[in-house]
Symmetry: C2
Subunit: 359 residues, 2 copies
């Protein structure tokens, strides 16, 4: 097992990475917990719910399971309220602990429920998708979507621990592996050129879920994320670089309707767009843009943006949380492995935004 430590003002906690961690989650339940509620979705619950419950029964504490429907379109107030309802019906108190068993949606909704229930109870992340293992389960960002924008309602709220078992990725559809790899290669692009090189050299092993390659990718991703988050928990500066590609990605997801493209797929495409924009406004070399495009393609993510029409693209990007005033701010790369945030005039971005396809 490998441990990465996260140190933020909102909490210090370990990320445990290793085969079999799913069976060891009981170690992360605080001794004074009065009850445990596992929050999962119907898909993951069917695959790993019984195994996790068996592991948690070792604590001897009352155990409740709450299953949400599966999909980004359920990252809503309704799902949140379903959790609150179940917790209140079971009369769980402030010393109850939630366990998020699932991907980014489950982790975000369960984490936000923990942040709000009785003004805050403890929770543990048990991410089961590659995307959640390398990104969303680490760093304490929790949220639900609003019809007007993704992740608009949420909290910075740190878990007690993150338990990562790469073994559970075996049941993940190939498309979700590709989506998760988008966030993995992102860390190389924004902060670690050597890791970018390594990803280029190990694409096939990663897509085939080779154990050693996946463990290294998860570990390095968690280290880089923990390093960024420990310096800037509440995204007042550095942390924004983790949103490389995300301004475009959020517009894709919101513009096509949540759940059409996977979040990681939209991020893959968004990173290609952001690389092209970087070439235009801060000097990213053409060769680097092509390497980014080739790697996104190699991991199996789309590289061609959908036609939403430039006006709609810009409107959708304008509700991004990074913005200040009316200017859209983008994470850009002056070079591979180095990121910065800057506002870019709409007219410079417009040529990158495809029109609505003609019927």
């Amino acid at each position: 097992m490998h441990t990465v430590q996260v140190e933020t003002p909102g909490g210090h906690y370990p990320i445990h990475i290793g085969a079999g961690r799913l069976d060891a989650v009981a170690h992360s339940i605080p001794a004074d917990a009065t009850a445990i509620a596992v929050v999962t979705n119907t898909t993951v619950g069917a695959l790993y719910g019984a195994r996790l419950r068996a592991a948690l029964e070792a604590t001897g504490k009352p155990l409740l399971t709450i299953e949400l429907p599966d999909g980004e379109q359920y990252k809503t107030w309704e799902s949140l309220d379903r959790i609150f309802d179940a917790l209140l019906e079971a009369a769980l108190d402030r010393k109850a602990v939630l366990v998020a068993l699932g991907g980014g949606v489950v982790g975000d909704v369960c984490g936000f429920a923990a942040a709000c229930y009785m003004r805050g109870i403890r929770f543990v992340q048990v991410p089961t998708t590659l995307l959640a293992q390398v990104d969303s389960s680490v760093g304490g960002k929790t949220a639900i979507n609003h019809p007007r924008g993704k992740n608009m309602i949420g909290a910075f709220y740190q878990p007690q621990a993150v338990e990562i078992d790469p073994g559970v990725l075996a049941t993940l559809p190939a498309r979700e592996i590709s989506a998760g790899l988008a966030e993995v290669v992102k860390y190389g692009m924004i902060a670690d050129p050597a890791f970018f090189d390594w990803c280029e050299a190990h694409v096939d092993a990663l897509r085939a879920l080779d154990g050693e390659a996946i463990r290294h990718a998860v570990r390095r991703s968690c280290e880089l994320k923990a390093w960024v988050v420990s310096q800037d928990e509440r995204e007042s500066g550095l942390r924004a670089i983790l949103n490389f590609g995300h301004t475009f990605a959020h517009a894709i997801e919101s513009g096509l309707g949540y759940g059409q493209w996977l979040h990681g797929e939209a991020v893959g495409c968004g990173m290609v767009m952001a690389a092209e924009l970087s070439a235009r406004v801060c000097g990213l070399e053409a060769g680097a843009v092509e390497r980014i495009r080739a790697l996104v393609q190699a991991i199996g993510c789309p590289t061609l943006p959908p036609g939403l029409g430039a006006g709609r693209w810009l409107d959708l990007m304008r509700v991004d949380k990074k913005n200040e005033g009316r200017h859209i701010r983008y994470v850009l790369l002056p070079a591979l492995g180095r990121a910065e945030v800057r506002a870019v005039d709409d007219e410079i971005v417009r040529p990158l935004l495809p029109d609505v396809p003609q019927a």
Copy 2:
């Protein structure tokens, strides 16, 4: 003007108390704010909205007003979502600032909206009821109600500043003054016997809104609350004593339906019940119980609990946030001016809980 400072891990901020503070709120808006959204209700908005907006126009910042319906029954997700909708429609960013102009409901809903919008933006409290001025605007508790329990969903989230203008109390109905005085006298009961004596001696002046008496009551209440909150922001210990009378009060509000009794009225009655329970389990003298009953009556709050039936009373109190496991925990007074939290067996409490009235 008098200033009381609140120092918590979640934020340091001033409470300004003084005539005319409503016209000085612009001083509490941070210079880098990109926009201001005033959240109020239809009643308070009609009385003081224009005056506050005029004062805020001095900042030169874009100004938005969001009016909620008036009443505890609107302390819901729907009101919260109405705020999110308005903020997103106006494309307000993370550097926007909310201003809560109203009583406890507006302050709690607006504060919780600030805690969640884009994972947290800044806000300023401008309380306009006595209850909000002496209690709910100070200390960072924000929440909405859930059909299964009061204030069950929320956050600890501190404002940038609290601006208290006792002048606005002039338009408050007498019933709301009485409700606010319940929280004022509470501070004497739990922490300051001399202040309890002072309240007994100044009941008539307080109910008549005598300027000097009200200023002293607001100031001493804020000082005592700031002292408690600064030691225990997240209610892991000491802060629970502020809930004296509230276990019973929440059951009254929830059992009769939110909005039937005012929160402060329920607290008044709940303090009499808690005093009686204190006499039975921790030796509060009969004379002190009678002084508490007499003072609650003198400020104009009910002292006789409604008949909900003992079983229902206990069920309603069991969802209280102070509880751990299945035991109901009460704030009790071993003596006037001293409070402690302890679990009490249902059978000891039952005789205090009136039956359902016979038809």
